[in-house]
Amino acid sequence: MSTSVKLSKVYKRFGNVEVIHGIDLTVDPGEFTVFVGPSGCGKSTLLRMIAGLEPISGGELLIDDELMNEVPPAKRGIAMVFQSYALYPHMTVYKNLAFGLETAGMRKSEIEDRVRRAAEILQIGQLLDRKPKQLSGGQRQRVAIGRAIVREPRIFLFDEPLSNLDAELRVQMRVEIAKLHRDLGNTMIYVTHDQVEAMTMADKIVVLRMGHVEQVGAPLELYNRPANRFVAGFIGSPKMNFLNAGIEGADARSAAIRVGGGKIALPRPARSASAGQKIEFGVRPEHITIEQRDGRIPFAAAKVDLVENLGGQTLLYTTLADGQSLTISLDGQRAIEVGATVETFIDPATCHLFDAEGRII
């Protein structure tokens, strides 16, 4: 049976400085929720408040509808994997795993059972007699996760657990954590600043900025329908192109927009926009093509400044007629010369308009 987490108007203040500004959030039972955002956005603080390592300055934290604000960390039914792993250096792997259970006064035989089972799940059985300093980064990470598993918690918390691993190992551990979630079915909350991790692992992503929730939703929902310019820029790699633009005219069916030195007509409503309004026009690099295809409209001519061939993908860094930069991501390998001018095409359905405050129009 999985557990829900509910935050209601949660505040965090350090002295006079407020870092979390009244967050409302529900994590459904069994859900893999990822808190994502740039450094200093409050994601780790929020996680630590759920863990009980930071006191909550205001609002309520409910775990399975039970108020947890004043409950000590160990009594919340939570296990946490730290960014630095925080393995006890003076204990063997076995001791590291067993320590929490010993503290809880569990019988020796049961401790051994649980440790063996966790070691089997994580394939660290042969490491049980070693000290943390004798392990590689990936092995330490497994032990840290094992320490969480043996406690059979209601909720797993992960605080940027993969940021110390190399790229290859990170991908591997990402898959393993996702698999672990599928096998155990527990509620998991995962903090990262890496939007690829967020996109690939999450059932639900919570994008945070400066202590506010910018948007909550499924990964593709955030990708396809970002609520504002920040989310649009944060989710997706390479980053979305933002071009200064102006509304020429808008009605219930279409919007005429001046952008990139030309004009385009978007066959979509833009009711909240008015003629003459300055806006930002957003389009993802992968949503721009240099060939006319069904449903695409001509966008602008772009002069190629740099070509990056990634093998499966070609990135073009270009400049438009009005001097603004535009990044284009094309499938496959392309023979395009630097200095050449390419005609670009976009699908109106994948374009985003943002007002001066960054809200979606």
Partner: protein, 293 residues
């Protein structure tokens, strides 16, 4: 070509020669310095073996004849045997070491990791006591212990150590504890540990180097302490080694100097071995590699 090679070789040889001379000079200086520093000790060692009349008349380190008589004479030369003094010194020093390690580490843990009202204020006050000379607090302390009826016992020398009175060690340990990653404490909290269990199971095992430092210095300072025992111990049966050594110097002028030097040499032995045993821990340090940075 050959000329150049020969020139290079000559230069190389010159360089090696110069290096060799520098090395000899340096070693000579260092050995000379060490000898000057060790001279009093060597003189004392030699005096403990030489005939009594030769002690103050000869400057040579080599005695004219060697005799071990001074050792048994010194050991049993006083009203109480030196075995008693050694035992007393040993008991006091070990109790002080245990007390200091326990009390100072607990106080340091509180300052380093626990949140309590006025923590910084009390820390500053504690550091302030570092500047108080022993002699300033001596009289009030003596009066206090006298009223408690403790004068003439080991208690005034031992009990304060269980109340974390050595601010220096507390400071040392606070600095060390602060260096232990906070995540370890937090991980232990998540594992359900109380503050006490975190101290006992996580902080102390990781603090062996600083504990060893405190143990070594407490032992040496207590073992070598003359003033404290002199003031508080009155009965010869309670005397420490240092007080025993003083008893050799007789006010009538009939002092047994070689006996004194023999016992002085013996009094160094425990300190030497204590240091030898614990310095391994000092150097070993602890690899806090459970954390990847």
């Amino acid at each position: 070509m050959t000329d150049i090679a020969a020139f290079d070789e000559t230069q190389q040889r010159g360089l090696t020669k110069r290096k060799l001379w520098m090395s000899v000079l340096l070693h000579g200086l260092l050995i000379g310095g060490s000898f000057i520093m060790l001279y009093p000790l060597l003189w004392m060692l030699s005096a403990s073996f030489r005939p009594e009349e030769e002690i103050f008349s000869s400057t040579s380190l080599i005695p004219s004849s060697i005799s071990f008589d001074a050792y048994p004479r010194g050991w049993f030369g006083l009203q109480e045997s030196f075995g008693t003094f050694f035992w007393n010194s040993f008991v006091i020093s070990i109790l002080c070491v245990i007390g200091n390690l326990m009390a100072c580490s607990l106080a340091a843990y509180a300052f380093a990791r626990l949140n309590f009202w006025g923590r910084n204020f009390w820390f500053a006050i504690m550091l302030g006591t570092l500047m108080l000379p022993y002699h300033v607090t001596l009289v009030p302390q003596y009066v206090l212990f006298l009223n408690l009826g403790w004068v003439g016992t080991f208690l005034p020398l031992v009990v304060p150590k269980y109340l974390a009175v050595d601010a220096f060690f507390i400071f040392l340990m606070v600095q060390f504890f602060r260096g232990i990653p906070r995540e370890l404490t937090e991980a232990a909290m998540m594992d359900g540990c109380s503050a006490w269990r975190i101290y006992w199971k996580v902080m102390l095992p990781l603090s062996l180097p600083v504990l060893a430092t405190a143990a070594i210095f407490t032992f040496i300072w207590t073992w070598d302490d003359f003033f404290g025992p002199l003031i508080y111990l009155t009965d010869m049966r309670d005397y420490t080694v240092q007080l025993g050594l003083r008893s050799f110097v007789d006010s009538t002028g009939l002092s047994d100097w070689s006996g004194l030097f023999a016992m002085s040499i013996l009094s160094l032995v425990p300190v030497f071995f204590f240091f030898l045993f614990f310095q391994r821990l000092l150097i070993e340090g602890i690899a806090t590699t459970g954390l990847k940075r």
